[in-house]
Each structure stands twice: as structure tokens, then as C-alpha cells.
Amino acid sequence: MRLSDRIENEIVVLEPKGKIMGGPDASLLNDKIHEYIENNRKKVVIDLSKVEWMNSTGLGILISGYTRLRNHQGVLKLANVTDKIQSLLTITKLVTVFETFDSVDDAIKSFK
């Protein structure tokens, strides 16, 4: 997995790429979220458009980010959820936890 990040309209946008399956790069996303929380940026959108697939480790990373932000009065939203990831969110009932949007723009607008 690779990860890029940017600020768009005061919202943090994280864009992981590739497969999220665990291993050495699994902590990248969590570390980055933690870094933004430390810098008092607590509104985060994760753009999943470039994630080929993820397993339960990937879901665990999303949950960790969600709970960590929530514990710091922040919010995590998901954008561009692919069919494969949507299917995982549905079978694990995590679809009831995460707010999802069809685009990063829609996710950013939802913070206003």
C-alpha cells in the first residue's frame, strides 16, 4: 500500500493505493491520522478509489482511524468506496458505522 495526503477546504484527504492486507505498511494510515490529530486537524476523508482490495486488517485500520478521531472529537468519512470494499462493509455490518460518499467533493461538502 502507498499513501498520499492533502488538505482540501480545511479537510484532510487521505488516498491509499494498492492492496491493504497487513504487513509493514499497515500502520501508514494510522500514523498519518495520528499526525493530523496532533496538528489539530480532525476532519478526515479517506478516498478509497485506488484501493484494489482490503482484508480484515484494512477494515481494522479504518475502524482504528474512526475511533481514534472520534475520541478526539473528530470525524472520519469514506469516499469512492469500491464495490469490493462496499461488499466487505456490508457483510461485516460496518456499513452501519461508516458514513460513505460517492466522491471526495461530496464528503467534503458534508462537513459544512
Binding site: M21, N55, S56, T57, K84, T92, L94
Partner: protein, 140 residues
């Protein structure tokens, strides 16, 4: 053994998650050779990654002197994949329900549930010499 060993349709890795991507490339390559479509390849790849993660972390307890062996075969349109660790076995009935309200925000504990959801069959055989999990999926 310090790095993955491949023999025919079988790959063996030391218990270190840095080798997950080697297993993934090996399995996905064989599945493409079988003519499986990309969605089915993803389902199987996700399932293999779950079982290999479990074998490394829970079966072999991250002990790099213990190996994880993954073997794939095809019979007609049905692909069979086994993942074998060298741990002391585990009780598949001891797993928590990941859909229970109190478990929904847990970061771990969904692996086997996801495998059972994505694959056609999953057979877990624990033994004192290691756990072998065999799963199947029709690819066409």
C-alpha cells in the same frame, strides 16, 4: 529459511508479514492462469491473505523459524487452496461473533468470518502439529 520457497503450485514462507505480498502475487498469478475473473481473484486473494495473516500471527505466533505453506490446485472449475501453519492448533469454535454489537468496533476478529463469506467452503483441521485450513471456490 529466510525467503519464500516456491515448488510447483506451492509456496512456503517464514512467519513474517513482509512476505504476504509474495504469497499474493503467487496466488493471483496462478488464478489468472486458470482464467478466473478479477472479482473472483480478489475474493480468493483476500481470503488467502486472511488465512496467512492468521497462520503467521496466531498459528506460528510470529516465530520466523516456523513456516506457512500455501498450496493451490484446480479440479474442473473448482479451485482449492490450503494454508498450513506449524503452531499448536486452535479451536475454531472459540471465535467471537464479529457482528455482535459489542464487537462491531473491534479492530480484529473478522478474518475467518470474511473467508467463510467469500469462499464456497472452508474446512478447518486443527492438530498439535499445526492447523490446516482448506477452502474452495468455483471460478466460472
Amino acid at each position: 529459511m529466510q525467503k519464500p520457497q516456491i515448488s510447483g503450485n506451492c509456496i512456503t514462507i517464514p512467519s513474517n508479514q513482509e512476505f504476504l505480498s509474495d504469497v499474493d502475487m503467487f496466488i493471483e498469478g496462478i488464478l489468472r492462469g486458470y482464467g478466473a475473473d478479477e472479482s473472483i481473484i480478489a475474493d480468493i486473494a483476500i481470503s488467502v491473505s486472511e488465512l496467512v495473516n492468521n497462520a503467521i500471527a496466531h498459528g506460528n505466533a510470529q516465530n520466523e523459524t516456523k513456516n506457512v505453506t500455501v498450496e493451490i490446485s484446480k479440479n474442473s472449475d473448482k479451485v482449492s487452496i490450503s494454508v498450513q501453519d506449524e503452531g499448536s492448533g486452535f479451536n475454531p469454535n472459540s471465535l467471537d461473533d464479529p457482528l455482535a454489537e459489542e464487537n462491531l468496533l473491534k479492530e480484529v476478529g473478522r478474518g475467518i468470518f470474511i473467508v467463510k463469506s467469500l469462499m464456497d467452503s472452508v474446512n478447518i483441521v486443527p492438530s498439535p502439529r499445526g492447523t490446516k485450513i482448506t477452502m474452495t471456490k468455483t471460478i466460472k
